[in-house]
Symmetry: C2
Subunit: 368 residues, 2 copies
Amino acid sequence: MTASDLISFARGAPSLDIIDVAGLKAATDAALTQDPGGALGYGTAIGYPPLRKLLAERHGVAEDQVLVTNGSMQADAFLFDQLVVSGSPVVVERPTYDRTLLGLRERGADVRPVALDLDGIDTEELAALLDGGLRPTFAHIIPNFQNPAGYTLSLAKRKRLLELAEQYDFVVFEDDPYAQIRFAGEPLPTMLELDEGRGRVVYASSFSKTVAPGVRVGYIVGPKELVARVRARATNTYISPNMFAQAVVYQFCVDGGLDRSIAKVNAALAERVATLCAALAEQLPEAKFTAPEGGYFMWVELPEGVDVARLLPAAEERGVTFVKGTDFLLEGGASTMRLAYSGVRADQIAEGVGRLAEALRSLRVAAG
Amino acid sequence: MTASDLISFARGAPSLDIIDVAGLKAATDAALTQDPGGALGYGTAIGYPPLRKLLAERHGVAEDQVLVTNGSMQADAFLFDQLVVSGSPVVVERPTYDRTLLGLRERGADVRPVALDLDGIDTEELAALLDGGLRPTFAHIIPNFQNPAGYTLSLAKRKRLLELAEQYDFVVFEDDPYAQIRFAGEPLPTMLELDEGRGRVVYASSFSKTVAPGVRVGYIVGPKELVARVRARATNTYISPNMFAQAVVYQFCVDGGLDRSIAKVNAALAERVATLCAALAEQLPEAKFTAPEGGYFMWVELPEGVDVARLLPAAEERGVTFVKGTDFLLEGGASTMRLAYSGVRADQIAEGVGRLAEALRSLRVAAG
């Protein structure tokens, strides 16, 4: 087997066939024709002004509540630098994005995981912790098609979280890169929107999933004063983010490329999820999962006693890979895994699941 | 006067007429045709691999000694994070780039300015400090067409600095964004080159001055182990820098756009310097300066007693601006200023100097 035969359910990245390469060529031409000075000069740390304006309108906020960054992870890093000091209690979902855990732990946060249910974080477990004296700096929440679980926070729980944030005076960090990657069900309002300007929510998102990761365009929306502090830090870090890429993304948005791209991505991912669920039901019937309504990821629980840390190398020997559930948890989850279907074409999925099933059988033979 | 009438000698940024907009359109088309996956996917923190390889070849080092970043200021920030702890003694030139001073002071460095002469940092003042017990973490040096002074470090002093670095065990941080913007005289070897792999030099540069600032592509070259540490930090900050912009810059380099662009920039800047020197000689004969052989900046000393902090608002009232010399110094320099000619077309220069001269006369009238 060569590397190109590997079927990867590991990386939360889109396959090239769902990126609108021709549209990005056209958007670049338009950006460099219509605003060469803006696209190619130094900007300021707020990002490309027309893109910031468009995002402010999208979210119904003032422009000075928005800052466009080099990808949303850079935005997260700036925010963590502002909010976290060593020992800061921070609530996260259990499981959650591994890079979030890493970023928080690097800064010495006291990370407090709260269970994630099918309808999002267990707000009553959180309420009990708060009642017991926990005073978090913020709660980090991935509300839509959570990474790694694929679950979505219900409307009732969005409201409950905001109530708790108000009552116990903490910030909700709404980390929402997948919002527009919904291919089933109805969209829910963001907590940013539900908060109605009370300043309890800092919202982050990006164009990595709707345009392309390589453009590295993300943004935050938040209270004016916090955004101003992040802006000062961004200025001192890099003067300005990538104006060229942001001008291209802006043109892609206004020329209708974004909507076309989202429609294409969502149609492809819906097909992949259907194929993945059917393949799992057929070839790996012991796997438990819930079909996601959007996003890139599906969380799969294997029967208790299956050691996914041993399954992974057996799977890689057979030409398929994924990420172990334990990477997204501080403890537990030994029988879980995250399957990303964003980078795998539909025609590779059944084969990939077949290899997984074979790897699982090999463990049993070895144990038997 | 409207804002568009303002003649700005303030900002170290190129005017749009010396940026190859058409060439960048063509380079984008080529990048997205030849390597759409590389340009649009997530990369890794090393940057766009073909660009890294090209830079490694340019500098005669191994690829794992190079890291391509979102502009060289981001590279500086990563390096400072690695090298500086509160109280670290750091040698800088006097005057030096204001953002360097800011970045060092933010991290609590013990900043030790050493005089800058026409042929670069005063190595004997530095030697005396070292002899007196100073043990700097590193010396920050802008060797070519220094910002703000425009001076260039001589070959003899480059060698002397490396001797001192070896003898007193410190790193030379060679911050070299202007190297290729030489329009007179002969290029000198970098200290990176003169060090011959002994690992005493960390080198940083960028494409902001040779391609365009808005692409935000910079890089560092250094000892493998240090580059690996910066890479880890970059991964945790943003996963990967802007692959799209880096792929475009790469194509621009290999298609000959870079060489054409450098030739165009240098021809334009040479004309501006000649015009600026002639205008100063004629209209502001009391100004003392040395015509730079490259770069963006010229340092101007006005007669002792001229308070540039008062001159600046008088100049701005008359539609011309610049940066006060004191911004580049921890102390002193009240009669000095930095004139940047990178953003001013040649046909605006005489008018700009005329306004400066008028502003200076107005102070004398007020004082008289």
